[in-house]
Symmetry: C2
Subunit: 355 residues, 2 copies
């Protein structure tokens, strides 16, 4: 009998879930429970023979490890906390999909939090997450408030900021430059000969504002900027919001011949509004969106948009986090995944000479 008193102790116990424990497996396999623990976590460190006996016992008992006990004993949970600002926005559903897929079948769990674009909520959720001693944290954006930022810095685990890049990462960053993206779209509309290029934006979170800043910079440089061309709202983005923003814009600037939308929902709304109003796209007005949702390519006309690497951001954020957890730590790494302007029918008109 190699068995210690592990299992006897268990028999006397008054509480418990009734499910098999490490000690039960150990008893059945005739080894100490710590050996079972090792065999499960790092099989290399246990002799092949015991390894097999243990595997058999695990199978017979249908043993499933208790993650709470593991977390308590090791002072760290196999959980990655993920904070996103929205679940409605399909941009973030694709990020989440990338995160899930990036996980593969490694034994890490994802814990989501929806901040609803609120700094206070982000701080609150972070506090909750930190209470679990997560293995890593993934947060959206680079504009955390001072308290949140400090909490992240003192989190004691890898932190990945996603969606955007900037000069001063808490730890790691992965995304692209929204300012540049805004510039590229604006330049494109100027190149195809648009004179009065409007900007439509909803939500206007920090990333939206930076895309707007890119637009404004290019427009000023071309001496075409006009505040009346910018129409925004802090309300959430939607296709119908695209319709109403477009109507507002037309009221202010009836001579509009190009519209840059802060995302594809708005662009689709503008397209529908043009259909209804009998405006020819792109002959009378050009439309550009942002994110390049799948539908942009098959819309009629197809809509120019900026392809953003949403899925990749999620997937690689997890990869970076896992690498950091495993000790391969290129800390303070900033990864620029770039973006790609997809030029489509909605902006394909012959360039018009400047005068």
């Amino acid at each position: 009998m190699a068995s210690s008193n592990d299992s006897e102790v268990r028999n006397r116990s008054r509480r418990g879930s009734g499910r098999p424990t490490l000690a039960d497996v150990a008893g059945l396999a005739g080894v100490g429970s710590i050996t079972v623990s090792r065999a499960l976590r790092d099989p290399e460190r246990v002799s092949p023979e015991l390894r097999q006996r243990i595997a058999a016992a695990v199978n017979e008992l249908g043993y499933v490890p208790n993650p709470s006990a593991r977390a308590l004993a090791s002072a760290r949970a196999d959980v990655i906390g993920v904070l996103v600002p929205s679940l409605t926005n399909n941009v973030f559903s694709e990020v989440l999909r990338g995160i899930h897929d990036g996980l593969g079948n490694c034994p890490l769990q994802i814990q989501f939090g929806n901040t609803h674009y609120s700094d206070e909520e982000e701080e609150r959720l972070l506090r909750v997450f930190l209470g679990q001693r997560p293995s890593a944290l993934i947060v959206s954006g680079i504009d955390q408030g001072p308290t949140t930022r400090q909490m992240l810095q003192e989190a004691g685990c890898p932190v990945v900021q996603i969606m955007e890049i900037g000069p001063d990462p808490v730890d790691m960053m992965i995304g692209f430059s929204h300012l540049e993206a805004g510039k590229v779209v604006a330049r494109h509309l100027i190149d195809v000969g648009c004179k009065r290029i409007g900007f439509l934006g909803a939500r206007m979170d920090p990333r939206s504002r930076r895309r707007l800043a890119g637009y404004e910079a290019v427009m000023r440089e071309a001496e075409r900027f006009d505040v009346a061309l910018v129409t925004t709202t802090i309300s959430p983005s939607s296709v119908s919001m695209g319709v109403s923003l477009f109507h507002k814009a037309l009221e202010k600037t009836p001579d509009l011949d190009g519209v840059i939308c802060n995302n594809d929902d708005l662009a689709l709304g503008v397209l529908f509004a043009c259909h209804r109003a009998g405006l020819k796209v792109p002959a009378q007005i050009s439309i550009a969106g942002f994110n390049d949702l799948e539908m942009m390519e098959v819309a009629s006309p197809s809509i120019t948009s900026v392809r953003t690497p949403r899925y990749e951001i999620g997937q690689r954020a997890i990869a970076m986090a896992r690498a950091a957890i495993d000790g391969e730590r290129p800390r303070r790494a900033v990864v620029d995944l770039g973006f790609e302007l997809k030029i489509r029918e909605s902006t394909m008109r012959a360039a018009v000479p400047a005068f």
Copy 2:
């Protein structure tokens, strides 16, 4: 000194996270740690005076409870496991949003799993979730495999099946009848005078199939059913898939004058395809979708669809789970949230006499 040796023990400790514990709070407040535990979980059971001293100590120390320790000691985690088949599909993002919002700020955590429409994956994830001893489980659909169903039955916690209703709930159910929804749309297109009504479907998960069955039943009853009218694929749904399914359907049945789409993505694709082909909607062809995404109402023409209570399903599923956790158990409850046909321009043509 009311303090026991709690804190002294802690000082000798060799492990630990360095973060304040219940015992530290107890020491500072001059009470036993169990009193702090009670004060935190059920303030009513502690005298106002101690309650206040404890609150002060918690604040001073910045104490955050350790959920692993709690879960281990109480043999149950404050976690609700949620299994959905997809994160891409915006139907489920709205369910998730409802779930999050239904939670409010109660101290329950959500653990998501994405089954990717796979029974095996569902079973695997369920096994993982069960290992955490969740407080409740929410699963999508009513077609779990036998193993999964048995695991759910033996889970020992409330189980809510969502999205659909059926005769034999594991525990609780909330959703609506997809068969009826399919029937209602088919009847509507017949009512507006369509003769050759096609059905377009992607993914074809069990709910899709039941909507198709509803369509087929009504079409047979009207003696208009024709297998050539049904065009489906097991590939995921998308707007571009709507375009290609529509092309396929037109090849088989060029006399198509109505299209019922299994969801709104497909319907949007059909609308775009009609635009490109110069087909007038609804004059030459009627289009109906499913789910009533926000964009259906502002599309041009606006698209008839079936409004489904996705957000409500999520929200009420959580409410039901919470009620059951709290012991108010109307077990084996089936809640039918219904649906609503939204008739819009895409099917608004004068009814044509039968001959």
